[in-house]
Point group: C2
Chain length 175, copies 2
């Protein structure tokens, strides 16, 4: 019953929406670290706002979201920061089989059902799936080898349109 | 069209399965850091195996998965490592509105469609949603304040059954 199989699907809920200054992929930072101090808002829908209690003590939060405007999955991609193709799972490219994004954003303030955050690398209107507190003892591994990122050929910090070709996406939120 | 609303749902794909020594929640490590050196395997289904190319150069990977056996969402929970309730989003408790788990596991070896990994905190048979390379410059924030975790009252490292009550889950993989 609980065994996964390739034909199965999972139904996730949209629990809120992320508002940022970025209406279009081109020019949007490709990682939170490159969107430093750019501010945004996270609005939680009912009944999820009460679950934000005690979040104020955390410097950073993981936002987990559905990148609903990216194009479809390809096994190999040319990532933003290299001149060579790599396997998709060796990149942070958004055009994944499940376009789940995760950003470690800085928490400025909670106001009721809304979070004021900074370090935005997310498109405006992106559907929210989860929020987790950033806990350094669980999440921080400063010394790891990071494959081709350690010698990456291109110091690119914002997106272009390569993963957001119009009409090629199949990741829209379903009604 | 792309705006999220509370009635909408998202259909995610199961892209593989995670095999670990943990058949039951009780006794399973609650974080990868507490499952140190415990080994497991990640099996990618077709057509996703080709997307693993170049993953060998990374010390760690984020596994993103669907915790299909947890019980339903409650806004406030008593987490494993405290004696006080907290808002769910201020905890790493698995019983989330979307039970999405993320674990920074250690990559031992890739063999075709299979990854041999260590630092397991995941139940056997858990459906896989995504794999991302761990990149310290994106993911590592060693100095952050972590709210109640910084003074947590209970040094618990393995799960019990509190978030996995039989019959209360609604997160099973749908056929």
């Amino acid at each position: 019953m609980n065994q996964a199989d390739p034909q199965s699907g999972i139904k996730a809920r949209v629990i809120g929406v992320i508002h940022t200054p970025f209406a279009e992929p081109a020019g949007t930072p490709i990682q939170a670290v490159y969107g430093k101090d750019i501010e945004g808002r996270v609005l939680l829908y009912d009944p999820y706002a009460a679950a934000l209690d005690d979040i104020d003590g955390f410097d950073r939060l993981w936002l987990i979201y559905w990148m609903d405007r990216v194009s479809g999955f390809k096994p190999r991609v040319l990532p933003y920061r290299d001149t060579k193709e790599h396997g998709l799972f060796a990149t942070r490219s958004p055009a994944r089989p499940n376009p789940i994004g995760m950003s470690a954003v800085r928490l400025i303030r909670r106001m009721g059902a809304e979070l004021h955050v900074a370090d935005m690398d997310i498109l405006d209107g992106t559907p929210l799936l989860d929020i987790k507190p950033y806990v350094p003892s669980f999440d921080s591994y400063p010394g790891c080898r990071a494959g081709w990122f350690d010698t990456c050929a291109v110091d690119r910090r914002v997106a272009d349109t390569r993963f957001h070709e119009p009409g090629s996406g199949d990741h829209r939120v379903q009604g």
